[in-house]
């Protein structure tokens, strides 16, 4: 039951909204938790025990950390000043141990279910190569839906409790709501406890304004998913499934199409998810902020899958920056290599685990690891080349804010994104490399008008709709980027204008949506991660 399906939009969501509204305030939490577990069960059946288990385990780790902190406080309060530091150190050690246990166990479950077969396959190849008569058996492992998302949220919660950013509750319900809020289960956004738990726990009554804003956001998501993404899916699938038959422009077009498809689909799903949350009065964090206006790869990742980036930054990058290793290198580097190399070294030490995890998080494939490393190298190169670039700009008299320089940077970022997504989508790293190479072979613009692009299940009408859909999304993105409508959004417009926009959106989805005869329902890409 993906979020764009008729069952979710016209049955599940309205039923939960109704049950939530008619239930007494105290029972509303139970309705939401029940809806979350029900949603999970409908997709992953009995694997819902993983979500329940993770919730309970995380809750008790949180309680344990809080108990240790309280005990530490009590002991330090009642002891002599010279002994306080020793007590604090003792308890910090214990807290670290508890936190490490919590994180390791959750990661072990995730790693076993998600990566065991990948590990076994590669280990077996290695063992065979060195003639060791040992083999890891392949296992039929079923992944609970959304495990990569709720595991990160759970780890984030434990770390936040450890850092005393949030306080634990004795009742596990609040955490259950935080980890199992049904709109977030399949695809995120990966929220922090401080962002959503309170609003979920408050269980405010439904409000007309929230309902209408939520509905509009959902329809906008459907617009992106059904009009653009599901159409491009046909082209992308046709080329990537038979990549050996194509080269040059066709491969490049497929890489661009996949990037647009992924953006329209993932951000469209996010619109539906955020809209669903909004209906309950819960403001979920945004996951996309006009990523295609980014001037470099770093900015792109601040605008694309934002919550994943923020999670890695908060729970990997910052702790790494403050780690003993970085401190040691800082001292050593400044002494022996100077500021520039030291800074580069620190960036490498902190960024490497972030991008390794980013690649791994997407799934057990070398191509995903390559994808992570691709961005690691690009970002590091960006940092390394910064002084050279600044010097060149100064010499040439080009201002950073010059419009043509901005456009050039955006164009360069597009190339980086498209190439990255080519490897991301290709069925394996070797295929990705082959496709990348073939992009530079038989380059001829002839295929743009000889009918090649009409062989992918799309006709001229489809391409026209895709272009119009992208232009509409670009205009909406531009309005958002410049904040032309302010905080009130469409609500500021006069009723006839607002309603005309709503009807236009609804009928655009109904008439131009890629559904029914000739199209197929496309599963959510990120639900697979």
């Amino acid at each position: 039951m993906a979020y764009h399906t008729i069952v979710y939009l016209f049955l599940f969501l309205p039923l939960v909204l109704t049950a939530y509204q008619i239930a007494p305030r105290k029972l509303r939490r139970a309705v939401l938790v029940g809806a979350g577990y029900g949603f999970f069960w409908l997709i992953s059946r009995k694997l819902v025990v993983f979500l329940i288990g993770t919730t309970l385990f995380t809750h008790y780790i949180g309680l344990c950390l809080t108990w240790l902190k309280q005990k530490c406080r009590m002991e330090t309060d009642s002891c002599a000043p010279e002994g306080k530091s020793g007590i604090r150190k003792k308890y910090k050690k214990k807290e670290k141990l508890v936190l490490a246990c919590g994180i390791i166990l959750l990661l072990t479950v995730l790693a076993y279910l998600k990566y065991y077969n990948f590990f076994a396959h590669n280990a077996n190849q290695l063992l065979e190569a060195v003639s060791v008569p040992l083999a890891f058996p392949a296992k039929r492992l079923v992944l609970p839906i959304g495990i990569s998302f709720y595991t990160l949220q759970a780890i984030g919660y434990m770390a936040d409790v450890y850092w005393e950013k949030v306080q634990t509750e004795n009742h596990p319900g609040k955490l259950a709501l935080f980890l199992g809020f049904f709109p977030q289960i399949m695809e995120g956004p990966i929220s922090m406890y401080s962002q959503t738990a309170e609003a979920l726990w408050r269980c405010d009554s439904l409000k007309g304004e929230n309902l209408s804003r939520g509905c509009v956001r959902i329809i906008w998501g459907l617009f992106k998913k059904m009009i653009v993404a599901d159409r491009l899916y046909l082209l992308v699938k046709a080329v990537f499934d038979h990549y050996e038959q194509y080269s040059g422009i066709v491969i490049a077009a497929a890489a661009i199409s996949y990037t647009v498809q992924l953006y329209m689909e993932f951000s469209g799903s996010m619109d539906i998810i955020i809209g669903s949350g909004r209906m309950f009065g819960v403001v979920l964090p945004e996951n996309f902020r006009q990523p295609f206006v980014s001037r470099n790869a770093a900015e792109f990742w601040r605008r694309w899958h934002i919550t994943l980036g923020v999670w890695f930054k908060t729970y990997i990058f910052y702790p790494m920056s403050a780690s003993a290793l970085v401190k040691k290198w800082n001292r050593f580097g400044k002494k022996h290599f100077g500021k520039y190399i030291t800074k580069l070294g620190i960036s490498a030490i902190c960024l490497y685990p972030v991008w390794l995890c980013n690649g791994l998080w997407h799934g057990p494939r070398w191509s995903y690891l390559f994808y992570g490393m691709y961005y690691f190298v690009i970002l590091l190169f960006g940092i390394a080349a910064e002084p050279v670039k600044n010097g060149l700009l100064q010499r040439c008299g080009i201002k950073e804010s010059a419009w043509y320089w901005k456009r050039l940077q955006i164009l360069k970022t597009w190339v980086i994104i498209f190439v990255g997504e080519l490897f991301f989508r290709a069925e394996g790293l070797s295929i990705g490399l082959k496709m990348f190479k073939s992009m530079f072979q038989n380059v001829s613009l002839h295929c743009l008008w000889d009918g090649t692009f009409l062989n992918f299940g799309l006709d001229k009408g489809d391409y026209l709709v895709i272009i119009c859909g992208c232009l509409t999304a670009a205009v909406v993105g531009g309005i958002k980027e410049r904040n032309l409508l302010g905080d009130g959004g469409l609500a500021k417009l006069k009723t006839p204008v607002r309603w005309s926009i709503y009807y236009a959106l609804i009928f655009a989805v109904i008439i131009f949506g890629a559904y029914g005869v000739g199209y197929q329902q496309v599963d959510l890409i990120y639900a697979g991660f």
């Binding site: 008729i6 069952v7 009807y503 008439i511 131009f512 949506g513 000739g518």
Partner: protein, 332 residues
């Protein structure tokens, strides 16, 4: 007081918004249905039979045949007309599901009053479970009440000028390919039976009661198809028909009587029959229904001139195709 007034105003606005939306949906639905009726080349194959049957003159169809691709490849209404003067129409769709069968019947009954509804039983064997079933059901209901969801794609041929022309005779498709079935006997006697899905039997109940309300007889038929039928399925369908007092004819048990030769009559290795097979099946089927049901011979009746014209064209076309098929069989 002001709060109350505001609330009423907001509620009124919401009602007005949805009323306009409902009116737009209804209006656009009937507009698209009319456009599709005017030119059925605007819609793609799967929805054609639904539109075409709505274009037939009111109360002109006596036999309505429903089912999946087996229905429109096995029985030829024009052959029935030529031999018996029976007016029949095939409301078949590829991979038709039981709720689609129900809704085509319901739509047909809006301006037709058939005496006999024939259901090709392959639809009874196609059950869906869980969320997929719910999804299909909701989609079909939505498309039935608001056909805009079914015909939304007509913008494409209207705007781009590319139409989806298809040759069909009252729903029957002339298929002249020959791909023999070579695996031998497929109806091996057994006491075992498959289980019909409750989803299917629930919809069948609705179909039966709709037919009974309109005084329509129901006949279940299984057309010859080694890929789709076996004895276990026959047992289940026979038992179901008996339990519900429905007539049931399984032609898979009468392949010899029908004179089906799987070397020449198979379209795609035993999945469907081709034109040669359809002619044999229709011959038997025509005899069967005329001997059991009170069906009128409309040949020469006023208002059926179109049938005569279409029948002539059909005769010409099939003659050519049959000759070509026989030639290709001779050449080997």
């Amino acid at each position: 007081m002001r709060d109350f007034k505001d609330k009423i105003k907001r509620a009124g606005k919401t009602v007005l918004f949805f009323a306009i939306l409902f009116a737009l949906l209804t209006g656009m639905s009937s507009m698209l249905t009319e456009i599709s009726k005017k030119n059925d080349n605007l819609i793609q194959s799967r929805n054609k039979s639904l539109i075409k049957i709505q274009k037939e003159p009111p109360n002109s169809i006596d036999v309505l045949i429903l089912g999946d691709s087996l229905s429109y490849t096995s029985i030829s209404p024009m052959q029935l007309w030529n031999r018996y003067g029976i007016t029949s129409f095939i409301g078949g769709q590829s991979g038709q599901k039981i709720y689609e069968t129900y809704h085509i019947l319901k739509t047909t009954l809006e301006n037709q009053s058939p005496k006999l509804v024939v259901i090709e039983t392959d639809v009874l064997l196609r059950g869906r479970t869980g969320l997929g079933r719910l999804k299909d059901k909701l989609e079909e209901k939505g498309s039935y009440y608001f056909p805009i969801f079914r015909y939304h794609n007509v913008w494409k041929p209207l705007l781009m000028g590319e139409e989806y022309a298809e040759e069909s005779y009252k729903g029957f498709m002339l298929r002249d390919t020959i791909q023999p079935y070579k695996k031998g006997e497929y109806m091996k006697k057994t006491g075992e039976k498959i289980q019909l899905s409750p989803f299917v039997t629930d919809y069948m109940e609705q179909i039966i009661s709709l037919c009974r309300e309109n005084d329509i007889k129901i006949l279940l038929i299984s057309t010859p198809s080694p890929v789709n039928y076996n004895y276990k399925k026959y047992n289940a369908l026979k038992e179901y028909a008996q339990e519900n007092s429905l007539d049931y004819l399984d032609m898979n048990l009468k392949v010899k009587k029908l004179d089906i030769d799987w070397k020449s009559d198979s379209l795609d290795k035993g999945d469907h029959v081709n034109l040669l097979g359809a002619q044999k099946i229709t011959r038997y089927f025509g005899k069967y229904i005329t001997s059991r049901y009170d069906l009128t011979d409309h040949r020469g009746d006023a208002g059926f001139e179109m049938w005569e014209r279409e029948a002539k064209d059909y005769k010409k076309k099939t003659k050519k195709k049959v000759e070509a098929m026989q030639n290709s069989l001779r050449i080997g």
